[in-house]
């Protein structure tokens, strides 16, 4: 097994996936993903590092010299937003123990409004952003899962050049979540509170210090750049990080039967009354879609004044009546019920059928933002608590 490949570690069942920093000798190879004997686990974790909390500001300020650094910054009202660092002073507002960003960081690759091209006197001038090195520092596992899902979506079929350029040169630093919000259910969706792969670096809070897990070469290179700020991790610290993860998972108290919900949806075993009841309560504001880390629907429109203008795209949503209305007036999803159902079927059925991964990352934002208390978690509770055959 080569250095840099992903291995699953476990006995009869895989318990974790690691990026292999060393050549592993003792491997019972079973196909592509080998099973690593227990004795090698410590070797694998060898390149875990330690970052002292008091060094964080220095690390961020210095990395901001050559890159854009996005961070969870707390505003005067206590809201935490993921914003680019403008000046070092803003680091005073850094909050890595936030429960949840109101808007997920999908807007960094897919802004709420962006221009695709400008035009003047019939000449078109594309406004494709230039890729730039940037760090997303302090992501939650669920939000990175959302980003990875959106990455795949924009990449497949016709790759979206705007998204590509906005996300190229990205380094992701997860700070595993130890302070979930009451609406989070990431342990049910297997998307948190810590992430197993797909990250560049992941930080585990050990009190005065963070254990830093390296998830990619990109992450390794970043550490190399600021070598003097990182220490080697001891066996005790690695052990401690495992305990922190277990405690963090226990802190997520909302549990739903996600697997069963997916089964029920993929087998079309959902009583219509559930959708009808949601459709009656929903006021079709679209809040749940805007705050969803994996919703990517958009509208295109032109704006022009005196022969000069631009074509824009902006976020759109499937709950709106006009979303599917055709010019003839015919609307295939005119009734509220099919619009309500679309959202659940998309996330819990079609995404799963098409990609093998559900579009729901268990962040609970839909419930948090909904003025009438509708959310994926309570939809699942209702669905799996009911027997459709009744």
């Amino acid at each position: 097994m080569r250095e840099g490949c992903v291995v699953e570690v476990g006995f009869s069942e895989p318990v974790a996936r690691y990026l292999c920093p060393v050549t592993v000798a003792a491997v019972a190879d079973r196909g592509r993903q080998g099973w690593v004997h227990r004795s090698t686990i410590d070797d694998i974790n060898m390149n875990n590092r330690i970052l002292l909390k008091r060094n964080i500001n220095e690390l961020l300020a210095r990395s901001a010299e050559a890159r854009e650094v996005y961070l969870p910054l707390e505003g005067p009202g206590g809201d935490v937003q993921f914003l680019p660092l403008q000046e070092p002073k803003e680091l005073d507002n850094l909050n890595l123990n936030y429960d949840q960003l109101i808007i997920p960081p999908k807007n960094i690759g897919f802004p709420q409004l962006e221009s695709l091209f400008e035009f003047k006197d019939g000449e078109i001038n594309p406004t494709v952003p230039v890729p730039s090195r940037h760090i997303l520092f302090g992501l939650r596992a669920c939000d990175l899962k959302g980003i990875l899902f959106v990455d795949d979506f924009f990449r497949k079929n016709f790759e979206d050049i705007y998204y590509r350029h906005r996300t190229e040169g990205r380094l992701t630093v997860v700070v595993g979540c130890t302070s979930p919000s009451p609406n989070c259910f990431c342990t049910s969706t297997s998307t948190g509170p810590f992430i197993e792969d797909g990250f560049d670096l992941q930080l585990v809070d050990l009190g005065e210090r963070y254990l830093v897990e390296v998830g990619s070469e990109n992450g390794e290179r970043f550490i190399g750049e600021f070598e003097e700020l990182f220490l080697d991790a001891s066996k005790d610290e690695i052990h401690h990080s495992g305990e922190v993860k277990v405690t963090a998972a226990k802190a997520v108290t909302l549990k739903v039967d996600f697997k069963e919900a997916i089964r029920r949806l993929t087998e079309d075993d959902v009583p219509r009354e559930i959708y009808e009841e949601i459709a009656e309560r929903c006021i079709y504001c679209g809040g749940c879609l805007y705050v969803c880390p994996t919703c990517t629907c958009f509208n295109l429109f032109d704006d022009m004044k005196e022969g000069e203008g631009a074509r824009f795209r902006n976020w759109d949503g499937c709950v709106f009546e006009g979303y599917t209305r055709e010019a003839s007036g015919y609307n295939p999803r005119r009734d509220k019920c099919s619009r309500a159902a679309r959202r659940y079927e998309h996330k819990l059925k079609y995404d799963y059928q098409e990609t093998g991964i559900s579009g729901c990352v268990g962040c609970g934002r839909c419930l948090t933002s909904c003025p009438v208390n509708i959310g994926i978690s309570n939809f699942i509770e209702q669905l799996t608590g009911l027997d459709s055959k009744q």
Partner: protein
């Protein structure tokens, strides 16, 4: 990497009136190389723009065996399509594409071909009809059943005149409301069934308003067609045409990239709404 959202300038070479608020535009890309390299198949569509007004999906009505131009037949239904209808030859328009999948062609050779259209729905089928007629000897019967709400809503009157004269091509027309001295049949397109006898099975291509398509599919199945031999081209609100904006979704599919052509076996008619 190609920027799929950028449309290319093209010139309207000629405009032909088809009926009220409906015109056929012959369009040539400004860039000669672009025109030459523009390959498409019947069933596909392009995204047509006027800068500052907007963009819409329009089927390519011409057949790929005619090179050097494409033809689009556009009915004024809203903001953009009405603005396009006001254009004249020499005016500029913007095009990107082609997008979408295609009608099966090679695999259906030797079989009877039924084209069943409603109103502007003949536009996408016309591309296929032209191509089939260019290779007439490779197919069985070629039948067109075509209806519209009013007689003036029937498009491609000139082509229809020519088709009627062709040996081995059968054209049957019908209008819902018999206006302006209409002497043809009155009713909906499924009422043309007896006239199209003998139904020996074959392949059917359908495009029209949603209720019409539903009725026709049901009728074809009752007539003994396999679902696999019935092809529909579906309409949906579209924005991007490339499987990104979400607007044209049906279930886990996007009409713009997985369609617009679906077989009746693949398109779950009951679930069209979702």
């Amino acid at each position: 990497m190609k920027n799929e959202y950028i449309p290319y300038p093209a010139i309207i070479e000629s405009v032909r009136e088809e009926g009220p608020e409906t015109e056929t535009f012959r369009i040539v890309f400004e860039d000669e190389g672009m025109m030459e390299g523009f390959g498409y198949q019947p069933g596909q569509f392009v995204q047509v723009s006027l800068l500052g007004v907007g963009e819409a999906p329009i089927s390519i009505a011409s057949s790929p065996h005619h090179r050097g131009f494409i033809e689009l037949t556009i009915r004024g239904m809203g903001k953009l399509t009405r603005a396009i209808n006001r254009l004249e030859s020499g005016d500029k328009i913007y095009i990107r594409g082609p997008y979408g999948n295609i009608f099966p062609f090679e695999g259906v050779k030797g079989r009877d071909m039924y084209f069943i259209a409603g109103g502007i729905g003949l536009a996408p089928l016309k591309s296929m009809i032209d191509l089939v007629l260019a290779r007439r000897e490779e197919f069985g019967r070629v039948v067109l059943l075509y209806g519209a709400r009013t007689p003036s809503g029937l498009c491609f009157k000139e082509e229809i005149k020519v088709w009627r004269e062709l040996e081995g091509m059968e054209v049957r027309l019908i209008a819902d409301i018999p206006e302006g001295g209409w002497t043809g049949r009155t009713g909906v397109v499924t009422e043309l069934w007896e006239e199209a006898e003998p139904w020996r099975g074959g392949v059917a291509y359908i495009c029209g308003p949603p209720t019409m398509m539903k009725c026709v599919v049901e009728k074809l199945i009752r007539t003994g067609f396999n679902k696999e031999d019935i092809y529909l081209t579906l309409e949906r609100q579209m924005k991007c045409g490339i499987g990104k904006c979400g607007h044209c979704s049906i279930g886990g599919k996007f009409v713009c990239i997985d369609g617009p052509v679906f077989s009746a076996a693949g398109a779950n008619i009951e679930k069209w709404g979702r």
